[in-house]
Symmetry: C2
Subunit: 123 residues, 2 copies
């Protein structure tokens, strides 16, 4: 399994889900998963999905610019580091963001998000 | 030990060292450490320090804007996610950057960098 390929496939899947059916992101997290979203902390799939679905916009579009990935160590996890830009609602101005995921194996060829940290990079 | 306090102290130490005596960063990495720097990959303290000290500027100044941190899981590691801006040489224009570190315990109260991923966020 090519780690860079897995990371790119995960990132595509994650943002496509975020931009089209945000509530379905719940399936990517587990009970011990953690999210830091603009400095606010959430734990567990339910709390994380509640935060993401309650964000005050209906439409959004992520555009990924870079994806880096490294093995996280002996646990089989993988670190994925993303930069890109984000358009919200009918907004014309894209806002830069960066995000990191710590993916953990969840069965053959499958991963869940153990750690997720998201920040906007205001210009 | 307060993880947020440890993360902030590490980040201050890392960028102060980077900006004043870059070669000393070698002490923060080990043989299995990995660096992705603007998409280029390096492994091991020696290769990583060689890359960082060969960057084509002598003066630089990091200004940290946000530091997020989460425990990485059962290995005792810690994930640290930084955003900020960077001025190089006599440059007047700061460039935004984001960077993530996976810190692993290296004795009481001490950590080394297992994973390091760095990206500039061009504006």
């Amino acid at each position: 399994m090519d780690p860079d390929g897995v990371a790119k496939a995960f990132v595509e899947h994650y943002y496509r889900t975020f931009d089209t059916s945000r509530a379905a992101l719940v399936g990517l997290y587990q009970e011990g998963s953690m999210l830091s979203f603009e400095g606010e902390k959430f734990m567990g799939a339910t709390a994380i999905a509640a935060k993401l679905t309650s964000l005050p916009f209906e439409k959004c579009a992520h555009s990924v610019v870079t994806v880096d990935c490294q093995p996280a160590g002996p646990t089989g996890g993988m670190l994925v580091f993303v930069s890109g830009s984000l358009t919200v609602g009918e907004g014309e101005h894209a806002i830069k963001f960066s995000q990191m995921f710590h993916l953990m194996p969840a069965g053959p060829g499958n991963f869940y998000v153990q750690n997720d940290m998201f920040r906007l990079n205001y210009g």
